[in-house]
């Protein structure tokens, strides 16, 4: 076991973690934040995307013990109280959600994109989200949702 301190969705947390435990497992199984999804555990689907020190990374590939000192935001930390993040709003309104298992990852990755590029074009959106697999929508409604947001 190893003790780590980090900031999680704006709150300071101190937890004890296993040597080989992933950040994803820590979030889901111990910190009661199951919003980040486990769909592949090898960084090939983006369903567990979280922000870590300003970068969008796969929580399954972060060793929990190595998250010490980091500032982490999960999908649960994207909305401000009852006010959805603009990306969340856009995806709901635009039909970008079906089964929703990939959605938390898309929300975080897209929010990260809009952070650095408030008006991304179509191809920027497509490439920036090329690490997030969606099996339901064919990406069309996600693209339209985010293009609408980019034009606002």
């Amino acid at each position: 076991m190893s003790d780590v301190d980090f900031t999680l969705n704006g709150e300071t947390r101190s937890v004890s973690v296993g040597t080989t435990q992933s950040l994803l497992s820590l979030l889901r199984d111990e910190l009661e934040l199951p919003g980040s999804k486990n769909a592949c555990e090898q960084g090939e689907c983006g369903s567990c995307t979280v922000l870590m020190d300003g970068a969008a990374v796969c929580a399954c590939l972060v060793l929990a013990a190595d998250a010490d000192g980091s500032d982490i935001t999960t999908v649960e930390g994207m909305a401000s109280g009852d006010v959805l993040h603009a990306v969340q709003d856009a995806l709901v309104a635009g039909g970008g959600v079906q089964c929703g298992f990939c959605t938390p990852g898309f929300v975080v990755a897209a929010a990260h994109l809009f952070e650095s590029e408030p008006s991304p074009d179509r191809d920027q959106i497509r490439e920036a989200l090329s690490g997030n697999i969606c099996r339901c929508t064919g990406y069309g409604a996600i693209l339209r949702s985010l293009e609408d947001l980019a034009q606002r």
Binding site: G18, S25, R28, D29, L33, P34, G35, S36, K37, N38, A39, C40, E41, Q42, E44, C45, S47, T74, V75, E76, M78, A79, L84, V87, Q88, L91, V92, A93, G95, V97, Q98, C99, G100, F101, C102, T103, P104, V107, D123, I125, R126, E127, L129, S130, G131, N132, I133, C134, R135, C136, T137, G138, Y139, G140, A141, I142, L143
Partner: protein, 738 residues
Amino acid sequence: MTVTGTRTRGGIGESVVRPDGVPKVTGNFAYASDLTAEGMLWGATLRSPFARARLVRLDTSAALAIPGVHAVLTQEDVPGRPTFGQIVADQPVLVDGEARFWGEPAAIVAADDPDTARRAVAAIDIEWEELDPLVDMEEALELGEVFRHAPVRRGDPDSSGPVVVEGFYEIGMQDQAPLGTEAGLAVPDGEGGVDLWVTSQWTHEDHDQIWRSLDVKPGQVRQHPSGIGGAFGAREDMSLHIHVCMLALRTGRPVKMVYNRAESFPGHVHRHPARMWFRHEARADGTLTRVQARILLDGGAYTDTTPAVVANAVYFAVGPYRVDNVHVDGYGLRTNNPPAGAMRGFGVVQACFAHESQMDRLAAELAMDPLELRKRNALATGDPLATTGQIIETPLPTTDVIDRVAAMPLPAPDESEDPRRLPGGTGLTTSRSDVVRGVGYAVSIKNIAFSEAFDDYAEARVVLTAAGAEVHTAAVEVGQGMVTVLAQIARTALGVDRVAIVPADTGAIGSAGSTSASRQTQMTGGAVLEAARAVRELALQRGDGDDLTSEGVWRSGELVMTLDELCESGPLSHHTRFRHPPTEEPDENGQGTLHADFAVAAHRAVVDVDPELGLVRVVQVDTAQDIGLALNPQSVRGQIEGGIMQGVGLAVMEELVLDRGVIRNASFTDYLLPTFLDAPDVEIELIEEPSPWGPFGAKGIGEPPTISSTPAVVAAIRNATGRELNRVPVRPQDITGT
């Protein structure tokens, strides 16, 4: 209807947003894999490392001795029926002496945490004797390992057209790859029963299998609806259901099991790989005179839904075309390959790739426009289905879907050198000058709902209270948007805005049938419509009025009773069991009224191909689809785009690669799903000719997008390259010939 009060909001025809949209974007929606319970243990599974092996020794004592391990169970521990299966219960709950596919569960463990459970699995002392697996379909046929032989004999067997084309076609094994893996939580009720939350498409069918194996009474297992991360057929057959219940009952504690991705690949059924021979004969003017086919489908080790998949492949072998002389044999084979069952399109995907490839080949032979050939033979209302002879009595706009898709504007030529718009993508392999564009078309017909005399029904209960209406149903939402559409149907039928869908467990209401076969909008939607109309009638009677709205009951334009007053003496409720028009068993020649409804679709694919490297970018896929009525246009579009993407995936990248029955690419690194940069643009024309029995005329829409998109993409690649391409997925080396 007299216009009174406010118009119903959120009724049919509107793009109502999903009720589960906000919980899903905030991470608060609870999927089966997110559930927990006080005192919960974690389950894990020991699997066969061989496609076929004799179980020589299985000793659980070392695993049981690990602190924190609470149970290690094998086939000997199954309390009731030792096998399960939807059509034939031929799959042992756990390996019964011989493993018959790679990854077959042999033992299960419950422990304090996932890590201990995994260590316990590793500590089980097990010895296998590897046996020679049967992996070839022709060999299985010779050995008589046949789940079902479905023949069609119609017309004159000796008829012959002067123009003949023949072809062999092959389909690789596609995986549904829903993003959510198999997951379940079983909670013992303390009285010998168990409550189960699990990834499923059909709770009642699962329930009927589970209680038998647990040796409890039916009511002692309650399967609850749960958040499902996609299904596409993978959850029509059971996975960990009985295992997790066995562990919960044995330990007396809640047990949770979640498959990881490597387990999920062998942990559910797949699309049947196919080997097909087709022969089409026609007159010089293009009129089809005879179609013959031999279709082999690899069902894997256990029956699952193979018999029904074989039937679909055979009965839709000709496609939406008229022909009087048909001779088809379809076989579902038992092998030691991974089990096959339901996947979106259900047998029709395989047949459609072959019949549409044949139609193009025939058009080339006749020097005829391929769409002209299809229209000349297009099946229409009043015609017999070429295979079964069933007279099509429902609207069937085959010619219309072809004309409409052909009339859609083609995308402009792309001059961009941006790699994101080129084959090879950001790999920078390809310049615009290396690219050839191709265009291809395909058309399909699919049955809706269950066929061949299956007693197919859906139950629903609509309850009107002062707070609004509730719709109770056991129909499973897997992501497709059924909860939205059912509420819309109820709002329009009742006239009341506030409608909540209340998912019901197996003890609370009867079956809604499977969320598959493009059936739920028509079946559970039909049940909700019937029940809601009945409740409206009850309300009008009780209020002695002529209209019902969210405010209450109206008479001659005046509100005579508020909703509060109406429900003062208790809620108004109606429960119904909805059935579609009856279907028949096929006779020995495969003839009869086997199907309840049909839908047609046409696809046009535009591809950019780098022929020298064999790389493809699917630029655009356009479609015209026969949908009856768009209950929710946004949701219709989402189903069509998502279905097309899965068809594109099968066309150019998705395949489980097998080696003596072992999956060589059981991971998301190597089972390639299309990414955002692989997604084509999609333009859609909706054809709205009402189904006679769908709610407000709506038809099921889930499967057609996946069926003819695959052959359309392959036709476009052929058009660009001149290659034959008789196999999907089309691999780079199939295009380069190297």
